[in-house]
Symmetry: C2
Subunit: 318 residues, 2 copies
C-alpha cells in the first residue's frame, strides 16, 4: 500500500493484453508497476499509463532472475501477461516457448515467493487442450496430449503456478483465453490478412483450407473477466476459460474482413485441415464457469473482427 | 546400428530405475550408452553393465546443453529416466524439480531433434494427477490441478515431449509410474522406516496419519512394461499408467516391514491426512490400458515391500 492505494505488477505491460490490463488497473485507482523487455511490446501502448502519474515502468528481461526483486515490494497482485504469444512459429525456434513462457513463469513465482506476494493472475490459453475430444471444452476436460510447443509451455507454467499455490499459499487465477481481438492487436490471422490485402488488394492466400473453426474474444471483455474473477473468488486455485459462446470459420472471418475493407480479393488456400504444425482446427471453449460470476462478453466475434479491422486502419493510417 | 546391434541411450543410468533399464537392454542384446551425473546414482549399480562390454558411460550433467551431442550418434531410442525423484522435499529448493525434470527434458529433446533420434521413453509419475476426483485414475482423467512441484515438473516435461512428437516426429512413450520398489531402491517410505528402525528398533515415527493409501509396483515389472509397450505400439504418442491393481495403507506397509524385520516398535504419528506438502493421500492408477498389451505385474504390493526389505538388509549388511 502506498498512500492507501493497492499496488499491482503487470508483466508484458507493453503488450496487447498487458497494456490493456495496466490501463484498467490505473482506471480503478491502482498503483501499477509494469515490466517489459519490448521484444514485441510497444512504447505507444503505455502513453496513457505514463500520463497517469501512478505508473512505473521497469525495462528488463524476466529471464534475469533478479529483475523482480525490488519491484515486487508492497505488490498485492501480479498479472503475469508476458509471453511469447506466437503459437505459429514455435517449431522454428523450439526453445523460445519454453524460455519465455515456462522458465520466465518460474522466475516470477520465485520472486513472488521471496517477496511474499499473495496473488497471481496468469494469461494461459485454450491451446492447452490440444485437440480436445470434448467440444465445447470445459476446464476439466480429459488430460490432453499437447500438440504445440506454445500449449506445452503454457500448461507447464500453469502446473508450476498451481504447485506454488499449494506449497506457498499464493492465490492463483489461471485464465485460458481463446484468441483475443481489439485495439492494440498485433499478431494473428486478422493482421496477416490485413497486411496481405494492403500489399495486394486483389488476392489473399490462406493457410489451411479455410474451414478451421475458431473462437475469439474482445480484449476488453477478457480483461473485465479477469478483474471480476479476482474480485469474487477466495478459492486458492481458480481456473477459467474465457471466450464467447460461438465460433466462426476462417472463411467467415475473411468475408467480414474483406467487406469491412470494401475488397473482393481472389482467395487461394494452402490446403490441409491445419494452418500450420500444432494448429488446432477447432477451438471452442465452454465458458459456463466464468458466466456463473455474472460476466458475459459484450461483443460477437463478427463485431470483434470488424472493430479490429477499424483499429488496424487507424493505427496504420490507411 | 553398430555391428548390427541396436543402440539405446539411458539417462539417469546409475539410478534405481535407469540401471534396471540398462541391464534389461544389455540382456536383450542392445548397445547401451548411459548418462549420469551421480548426484544420486551409484557406481555399483553399473557393475554388471560395465562387465557386458556393450556399455559406455558418460559422466555429466544434462543441464549442459551440449552433453548429448556426440553420444546420441546412431541411437534409436532414448530412455529418459534421469530425474530429481524426490517428491517430498520440493518446497525446500523450489527450482530443483523445474531444472532437473523439465529443463533437462527440453535439453534431451533438443539433442534428439538435432541428432534425428526416432523414439523416446519417459519416466513420468502418477503424481501428475494431483488429487484426482477419479480413482482408480485413468490416463485421460480430468485435467488436474498440480499439488506438488514434482508432479508439475513431470507434467510439464510430458507436454514438451508430446509437442516435440507432433512437430518433429519423435515417437513418444510416457509412463506414469506409481512408486517403485525392489532391488536398488534408494528413497521412499520403506527406506525411511528401515533406517529409523535400524537406529532405534523400539520406535517408529510416521508422517501423516498412517491412513494414506498408495500403490506400488516392482521395478522389474515396470521395466518389463516399458519394453513391451515399445515393442508393440506404432502410435506417435503413447501414455501408459503403470501400477498394480491394488493399493495399501501406510499402516499395512508398516506391518509388513516390521514383521519382515522381526520388530514390534511403538508407532507415533505426525498426524494430518498428508505426510508432507504436496503429498497425495490416495494414489491408485487405472492400468487397464497397459494390461491390454498382455502385461501384468508379477508381484503383489506386499511381496514388493518384503523383497525391498530383504534387499535393504543385504545392501546394508544387516
Amino acid at each position: 500500500m502506498n498512500g492507501g492505494r493497492e499496488r499491482a505488477l503487470v508483466t508484458g505491460c507493453a503488450g496487447f493484453v498487458g497494456s490493456t490490463v495496466v490501463d484498467r488497473l490505473l482506471c480503478s485507482g491502482f498503483e501499477v508497476v509494469g515490466v517489459d523487455n519490448f521484444s514485441t511490446g510497444r512504447e505507444e501502448f503505455l502513453n496513457s499509463a505514463a500520463a497517469s502519474g501512478r505508473f512505473e515502468l521497469i525495462r528488463g528481461d524476466l529471464l534475469d532472475e533478479t529483475l523482480l526483486r525490488e519491484p515486487l515490494h508492497d505488490v498485492g497482485t501480479v498479472f503475469h501477461m508476458a509471453a511469447n504469444a506466437d503459437v505459429r512459429f514455435g517449431t522454428e525456434h523450439p526453445r523460445r516457448d519454453f524460455e519465455q513462457n515456462t522458465q520466465v513463469t518460474l522466475n516470477v513465482l520465485e520472486a513472488m515467493r521471496l517477496a511474499g506476494v499473495a496473488k497471481i493472475a496468469f494469461a494461459s490459453t485454450g491451446s492447452v487442450y490440444g485437440e480436445s475430444p470434448v467440444i465445447p471444452t470445459p476446464e476439466d476436460a480429459p488430460l490432453p496430449i499437447q500438440t504445440s510447443l506454445y500449449g506445452a509451455s503454457k500448461i507447464a507454467a500453469e502446473g508450476f503456478i498451481e504447485a506454488y499455490s499449494e506449497a506457498f499459499r499464493i492465490q492463483t487465477f489461471i485464465f485460458r483465453f481463446v484468441s483475443l481481438l481489439g485495439e492494440r492487436y498485433t499478431h494473428g490471422h486478422v493482421i496477416d490478412f490485413f497486411r496481405q490485402l494492403r500489399e495486394h488488394p486483389g488476392s489473399l492466400h490462406v493457410l489451411g483450407d479455410g474451414k478451421q473453426r475458431k473462437s475469439y474474444l474482445y480484449v476488453g471483455d477478457c480483461v473485465d473477466a479477469m478483474i471480476r474473477a479476482l474480485s469474487q473468488s477466495r478459492d486458492a486455485v481458480n481456473v477459467f476459460n474465457l471466450g464467447t459462446d460461438e465460433y466462426c470459420e476462417v472463411d467467415d472471418s475473411i468475408a467480414w474482413i474483406t467487406r469491412a475493407l470494401g475488397l473482393a480479393p481472389k482467395i487461394t488456400y494452402e490446403g490441409g485441415r491445419k494452418g500450420w504444425i500444432g494448429d488446432n482446427p477447432f477451438i471452442f471453449l465452454d465458458c459456463a464457469r466464468m458466466r456463473k460470476t455474472g460476466w458475459r462478453p459484450t461483443m460477437t466475434i463478427r463485431q470483434c473482427v470488424e472493430r479490429t479491422v477499424r483499429y488496424l486502419q487507424t493505427a496504420s493510417g490507411v
